[in-house]
């Protein structure tokens, strides 16, 4: 059997069908098993806030120590009405999430995220 780390690439369509807590559980359950999750479209700010909160509640000594997460900068909502009503509420973008003790970001640029992943 191939040894290594599982990477789950989750489509925007699949995420769109889920509620905020369903998304957070999907991500955290996956990451707590030692997998890397790549979201085609990132989480909304309120979902990010809840992700931090739920992550904190899952941290255990000598067990799960939290998440590492990187995403490209958001793009402003397009068009006049988007800017008027959305402000910087915008298109969230590709996001990488993994266990803090296995995923290390090496480079984060506006168009490149380079990460290093270790197995458990």
């Amino acid at each position: 059997m191939i040894q290594g780390v599982q990477i789950d690439l989750i489509s925007a369509e699949r995420l769109d069908k889920l509620t905020a807590m369903e998304k957070i559980r999907l991500i955290l359950d996956d990451v707590m098993e030692g997998n890397i999750v790549v979201l085609e479209k990132g989480l909304a700010p309120d979902e990010q806030s809840r992700l931090i909160e739920v992550t904190m509640r899952e941290i255990k000594p000598d067990g799960f120590s939290g998440i590492e997460m990187e995403t490209y900068p958001v793009k402003d909502a397009p068009g006049f009405f988007g800017r008027l009503f959305g402000g910087r509420r915008a298109e969230t973008r590709l996001t990488v999430i993994g266990p803090a003790n296995q995923l290390k970001m090496i480079i984060k640029d506006k168009d490149l995220i380079r990460a290093w992943v270790s197995s458990r």
């Binding site: 700010p45 909160e53 590492e68 990187e70 995403t71 402000g87 984060k108």
Partner: protein, 213 residues
């Protein structure tokens, strides 16, 4: 676009101020060891002669949200505001007790500190969603401001349409760069200070009286 955002902020601030009787709650947020409690202590000491909590070089010294009520701050512009200062634990997405042992803590103490820190971060996020009216976002000016947690937190604060002042702290240190922080968050006012030495805090007070009214 800036004009529209500012107008929207002003209207929402006006409506909040008009319908609310209590003081605005200004949360001091930021990553661990940015100097949040040092600033909270300075503000409280300068205006009511008290303190908020202890400070330490070991991360996550503040593990509970602490509030000091009814602090009236005056700027040289003649404006004044009465606010509650809410000092919060440093926000992060990861906490490992082994990190505390590197500062000389025994394992039991480090595990306890980690557990309390996780509770504190969750509590701080809850306050931000429910009970905060404006934010001072503290950054250590010697560190990279583009860290994901900072980008995420500023995005969360913006999505709640809260007024935010970004403070570039520790400008007394040789590696500090307030310009790096200004380039990371050009959409918000950035005030360089040294919370420890008190450098430029008057400018911060003046900005607070304008921004959090």
């Amino acid at each position: 676009m800036t004009f529209l955002v500012r107008t929207k902020q002003k209207i929402s601030q006006f409506l909040r101020a008009f319908f609310r009787k209590r003081s605005s709650r200004i949360g001091i947020y930021g990553p661990p060891n940015a100097g949040k409690t040092t600033l909270a202590n300075r503000i409280v000491r300068d205006w009511i002669g008290d303190a908020v909590g202890p400070v330490s070089e070991v991360p996550h010294e503040t593990r509970r949200v602490r509030r000091k009520e009814n602090i009236t701050i005056s700027g040289v512009n003649g404006h004044s505001i009465t606010i509650d200062i809410v000092d919060t634990p440093g926000v992060t997405t990861k906490i490992d007790y082994n990190e505390f042992m590197e500062y000389g803590l025994e394992k039991d103490e480090a595990v306890k500190r980690a557990r309390e820190a996780t509770e504190g971060v969750a509590e701080a996020m809850h306050w931000l969603r429910e009970d905060i009216d404006g934010v001072i976002y503290m950054l250590d000016a010697t560190q990279d401001p583009f860290m994901q947690v900072n980008i995420m937190m500023v995005g969360i604060i913006e999505s709640r349409q809260l007024p935010v002042i970004i403070v570039a702290n520790k400008i007394d240190l040789p590696d500090a760069s307030a310009n790096r922080i200004k380039s990371a968050f050009p959409q918000h006012p950035v005030i360089p200070i040294s919370g420890l030495e008190g450098d430029n805090v008057e400018t911060l007070y003046e900005k607070m009286t304008d921004y959090f009214r």
